[in-house]
Symmetry: C2
DNA sequence: ACCTGAACACCGTTCAAGT
DNA sequence: ACCTGAACACCGTTCAAGT
C-alpha cells in the first residue's frame, strides 16, 4: 500500500518512523554518536532533512527510539530464559545490557541522557519484577532497583566513554586501556599510591566479570542472598 | 608582573589557564553545559576565541580542568574531616561529591565523559585509600572501588540529566520529578506493574539518602561491615 | 610568546513551497 | 498528508596576521 503520490521504485518503502530509526541505528553502529546527523540520515534514506521531522520530534526522540529498540529486544531475551531462577534472570538481564552496550557503544550515552524515558523504564520494570520474585521486601525494592539502575548506568556511561576515546585515538579498546594504565603508573607516588598500585589490574581486568561482581555486591548488600538460595554464581 | 605588551587596566590580569577555567565554571554554573561556548568565554574574558586555544587544548580539556578544580576541593575537604573513621570519611567523600554535583549539575556529565582523566582518578585514589584503611583485603579493593566509582558516576549522570531536563522545561527539579511520576502512573498496567507501583516513591524519595543507601549496599556487599565495627550510619 | 578575529566546516531545526 | 531543500542561527577549531 503506497502512501506516496510519487511512484516508488520496486522495494522502496515510504518514509516511516521505523525506517528512520533503523537507519539511525545503522549510522550509530557504523560511526558512533557523531555519525548520527540529520543530513547523513536524510542521505541514507534518500530524502530531505526536514522530512525526518515529520516522523520524529527531535534528535533526542530519535536517540530514545533507537535505544528502545535495542533495550526492548535485550530485556525480552533475558526475561524469556527458561528454567531460570529470578536471580539468574536478573544476571541475564544485566549481562544482556552489558553486551548490548558493548556492541552498540552509543547506547551507553543515550541511556544516560534520558533516565526517565522508556528505555530506562523498561529496565527498571524488568529488574523490579525479578526483585519481587526474588523475595526482596517491598520497602527495600525501591532502593535496590534504583541502586542497580544507577550502577548499570554508570558502567554504561563508562564503557561508552572508553569506546569513544578508543575510537578517537583510532586504537582498540585494549590498547587504549593499556595507555591509561601506563599513565596511571606514572602518577606521583606520594599523591597517588593506590591508583599506581591498581594500574596493573586495569590492564588485566575483565570488564564483564567486574560488572557482574558489582551487581553481586549490590544484591548481597540487599540481603538477596538470604532469599535466593539457588542463586547462580 | 605583566606578561602582556598591551597595557592592562587596573585589576586586569593577563589571560591564563586559571582565569579561563574560572570563567568556564561561571558560565557552566550560570547556564549549564549549553552555556559554555568559546565565543561566550571569549566575550567574558574580553579576548578572541582563538586566544583561549593558546592555554587550553580542547573543549574537553577545558571541561576536565573545570571538573578537576571542583573535585579537588571536594575531596580535600572530605579527607580532612578530623576524628573520623575511614568509613565515615568514605561517606563524607560520597556525600561531598553528591552535593558538588547538585550545585554544579554539569559536573555529572563532565565526569562521565572522561572516566580515566584526572578528576575521576582523584576520586578513585581517595576511595581506594579509605578502603585500604577500612581493612578491605587488597584482592577485593579493585572490585569495590570500581563498583563504587561506577555507581557514583551513574548517580552523577542521572542527576545531571534530571537537572538538564528540569531546566529545559523551565521548572524546578521537584515538579519535574512529579511530572515523571505521573507519567509512570499512566503506564500500561499489564506491562509495567512494578514501575506504576513505585511511581509514588519517586515523588517522595530523598535523592541524597538514596544515594547513601546505595553506597551502604555496596560496602555491605563487600563485607566492609565486618572490618568497620565503628561504621557511622 | 601571545593574542586577534575572520573563515571553515560543520551542526539541529524551521519553514515556505511544492505534490 | 507528506516531502523538499534552502535558510537560520548557531557550534568547535584553525590560522594568517598582528603586537
Amino acid at each position: 500500500m503506497l502512501k506516496n503520490t510519487k511512484r516508488l521504485q520496486r522495494g522502496e518503502e515510504s518514509l516511516s518512523r521505523e525506517r528512520i530509526v533503523a537507519a539511525a541505528i545503522d549510522l550509530l553502529d557504523g560511526g558512533g554518536e557523531a555519525a548520527l546527523t540529520f543530513r547523513a540520515l536524510a542521505q541514507q534514506l534518500a530524502t530531505g532533512a526536514g522530512a525526518i521531522y515529520y516522523h520524529v520530534t527531535d534528535k533526542g526522540d530519535l536517540l530514545c527510539a533507537a535505544s528502545d529498540t535495542i533495550v526492548l529486544a535485550t530485556m525480552a531475551a533475558a526475561a524469556a530464559t527458561a528454567d531460570a531462577t529470578p536471580r539468574q534472570r536478573m544476571g541475564a538481564m544485566a549481562l544482556g545490557l552489558f553486551d548490548a552496550i558493548d556492541t552498540h557503544p552509543w547506547l551507553g550515552a543515550a541511556l544516560m541522557q534520558a533516565p526517565s524515558q522508556m528505555p530506562m523504564v523498561r529496565i527498571l520494570e524488568a529488574l523490579g519484577q525479578q526483585g519481587s520474585a526474588l523475595g526482596v521486601p517491598p520497602q527495600s525494592l525501591w532502593q535496590l532497583t534504583s541502586a542497580l539502575l544507577h550502577y548499570i548506568l554508570g558502567v554504561a556511561g563508562q564503557n561508552a566513554a572508553n569506546s569513544r576515546a578508543a575510537q578517537a585515538q583510532a586504537t582498540q579498546r585494549e590498547t587504549f586501556l593499556d595507555t591509561v594504565a601506563t599513565a596511571w603508573e606514572q602518577l606521583d607516588a606520594e599523591q597517588f599510591p593506590f591508583t599506581r598500585g591498581i594500574a596493573g589490574q586495569l590492564r588485566a581486568h575483565d570488564d564483564r566479570a567486574d560488572f557482574l561482581a558489582g551487581i553481586d555486591l549490590l544484591l548481597a548488600g540487599a540481603g538477596a542472598g538470604a532469599y535466593a538460595t539457588t542463586a547462580g554464581k
